[in-house]
């Protein structure tokens, strides 16, 4: 109905709000520390640019969202085995190279601390404060035996490829990391 559009409230809203914020979609498909970091840096920076940011976490990218106390997840022995060896939560992420059983990742975290570089955990919290939408992929959660209770609070409802494509079609920046 056209009368709805002409209501005073609608006019006020149109003036107050940025009509369509530019969109950015990141696909976080890796649980490597050196991939999770740029994902969170770009997500927070785009939010600082006033963009409408969504990060879609799939496959090992879900590790970033795991609660530190999630423990070994899944029901199936294969899921449990993958969970035991994949690490998880922002503290347990591994480097894609030179990880040395976690020592490399620790060195990188220590260096970041010394140089005052915001950690993945800090950036993740900041992203949530800045309204970045964090979408866990429903299919990979199921595949890996992850429940919503295994993931940190404040996430969006698990979504699928269709929702991701629907957003990416409209987004001016789409990155698969």
């Amino acid at each position: 109905m056209t009368t709805l559009d002409q209501s005073p409230e609608a006019e006020v809203q149109a003036e107050d709000e940025t009509p369509t914020a530019e969109k950015m979609v990141l696909v976080a498909a890796s649980g490597d520390l050196d991939k999770a970091w740029p994902v969170m840096i770009l997500a927070t920076t785009a939010a600082a640019y006033g963009m409408d940011v969504t990060v879609f976490f799939t496959f090992w990218g879900l590790s970033i969202l795991k609660r530190p106390d999630a423990g070994i997840t899944g029901d199936d022995w294969r899921q449990r085995m993958m969970s035991a060896f994949s690490g998880g939560s922002t503290d347990g992420l591994k480097l894609s190279k030179l990880n040395f059983g976690g020592l490399g990742a620790k060195f990188m975290q220590d260096l970041a601390d010394e140089k005052n570089v915001a950690s993945v955990q800090e950036l993740l919290e900041l992203a949530q404060d800045m309204g970045v939408k964090l979408w866990p992929c429903g299919m990979t959660m199921d595949l890996m035996g992850l429940e919503e209770s295994d993931l940190i609070p404040g996430l969006d409802t698990p979504a699928g490829a269709g929702s991701a494509i629907s957003l990416m079609k409209e987004a001016s920046i789409n990155l698969f990391i």
Partner: protein, 75 residues
């Protein structure tokens, strides 16, 4: 130049200087100014780029003792 708001981003690394400025500007009125000081080398190009893209005006920029100073007016 006296700014209405000051952001001390010294010691902070990318992307924090830009994020701190964006958070400061959110609470400001149009026409108010914010002074930023940063030491991150990236800030030297990041902050002017952010201000330009967001439509704010960069009123002042100078380096002093390896610190980068900027004054931005909110549009």
């Amino acid at each position: 130049m006296d700014a209405d708001v000051t952001v001390d981003a010294r010691g902070l690394q990318c992307p924090m200087p830009v994020i701190k400025v964006s958070q400061a500007i959110k609470g400001m009125e149009s026409g108010q100014t914010v002074a930023i000081v940063a030491t991150d080398r990236g800030a030297l190009s990041d902050i002017p780029a952010w201000a330009r893209d967001m439509g704010h005006s960069l009123k002042e920029q100078f380096d002093k003792d390896n610190e980068y100073h900027f004054v931005i007016e909110k549009t």
